[in-house]
């Protein structure tokens, strides 16, 4: 629990932005606690948590879309994201990540933040392993274009 808390929060922030990430994190771990006895001892906890977080993030996004006046949401999210930066980290990367198409953002977050292999990423998002790998590679390529800062991985063209 303690070891996965930070990872899941990073994933939620990457997918949803900081404003909604706390709720998704709380929902994820509450759902995990409710379901825990059904998880076998040998199961991959990280992949399981990311699967729950993925569903919770979809719920949050759908709920936001239902009540949203989209124009009113954007400045607020951007402001929250800017305020969330700390420790010398560059909030621009969070913005660049937020600007990715959803599939790419998910593939990048689940593979590079949660450390899931592409087969597990594909199991969470649907689609093939190859498609997950491509989405992550495209996402990283686009991040490299929009974000000039930290070292991003070398090209991953399959």
């Amino acid at each position: 629990m303690a070891e996965h808390g930070a990872t899941v929060l990073r994933v939620c922030r990457a997918i949803l932005g900081p404003a909604d990430a706390d709720d998704a994190w709380s929902e994820t771990f509450l759902a995990a606690l409710k379901a825990y006895p059904r998880l076998g001892g040998a199961a991959n906890v990280e992949a399981w948590l990311v699967t729950i977080a993925h569903r919770k993030a979809l719920d949050v996004t759908r709920a936001a879309a239902r009540r949203a006046v989209p124009a009113a949401d954007l400045p607020e999210q951007a402001a929250a994201r800017g305020a969330g930066g700390g420790g010398g980290a560059d909030p621009d990367l969070a913005d660049a990540l937020a600007a990715l198409p959803r599939r790419q953002r998910e593939a990048v977050a689940y593979h590079y933040l949660a450390g899931l292999p592409y087969a597990d990423v594909a199991a969470v998002t649907g689609g093939s392993t190859e498609a997950a790998r491509r989405a992550a590679a495209d996402g990283i390529a686009r991040l490299r274009k929009t974000y000039a800062g930290a070292a991003l991985p070398d090209g991953e063209t399959a």
Partner: protein, 205 residues
């Protein structure tokens, strides 16, 4: 089947705004409250600094289920609770407020007996019987293992009484430190002999 070798892991997490300890503990606290309200917080725990070192306190919804000294290894104790009681275990100090307050009062010399709901689920029936008898040995007093064995109606089970004390899941609160050897030596203690001495001296003062 064949997977392209990954370029060495990108530190995307390191380049993003960091997740601070304070942010995580705020989230944990809220989760503990929600989990308790939803009835899925099976074991709540906290640590408490005392003159006998850091104590781990854990409670089910029925009551205090475990008190552990640092030398028992708090991480191992938590793992044992997760496998023997429930894996739904969270740091959640609220459920342990009363226990922490009473233990503080005990070490300050302002409390002579504990008034807390106790959960003996970690004990076998015989050990439970022994442990339930121990609060009858008053504060500042001691009894020998043989005396306790006789008192629970099993005069020949002196060794089993020793085992019940040595495996007491609720030391301090269930006063197995008041059970000593017939020759007057303190005998063993799961918090270590120095801790047993400390408690006996505190109660003798």
């Amino acid at each position: 089947m064949t997977v392209n070798p990954e370029p060495e892991a990108l530190d995307l997490a390191g380049a993003l705004p960091e997740v601070t300890r304070a942010e995580l503990s705020a989230l944990h606290a809220r989760l503990a409250e929600n989990a308790d309200a939803a009835g899925v917080l099976d074991v709540a725990y906290r640590t408490l600094d005392t003159p006998a070192g850091s104590l781990l306190l854990a409670a089910t919804r029925s009551g205090l289920v475990r008190v552990a000294y640092r030398i028992e290894g708090h991480d191992q104790v938590l793992e044992a609770l997760a496998s023997r009681v429930s894996p739904r275990i969270l740091q959640a100090p609220g459920r342990l407020d009363a226990a922490a307050r009473e233990i503080d009062e005990y070490f300050a010399g302002r409390r002579r007996s504990f008034d807390l709901p106790l959960d003996f689920r970690l004990c076998t029936a015989f050990r439970r019987k022994v442990l339930r008898h121990l609060p009858g040995i008053g504060y500042g007093h001691t009894a020998s293992y043989a005396t306790v064995a006789a008192a629970v109606g099993a005069p020949r089970a002196v060794r089993a009484v020793g085992t019940a004390c040595a495996t007491n899941p609720l030391p301090l609160v269930v006063p197995c430190h008041r059970v000593i050897r017939s020759d007057g030596q303190p005998g063993g203690y799961l918090g270590g002999p120095a801790t047993k001495r400390l408690l006996l001296d505190l109660e003798a003062a």
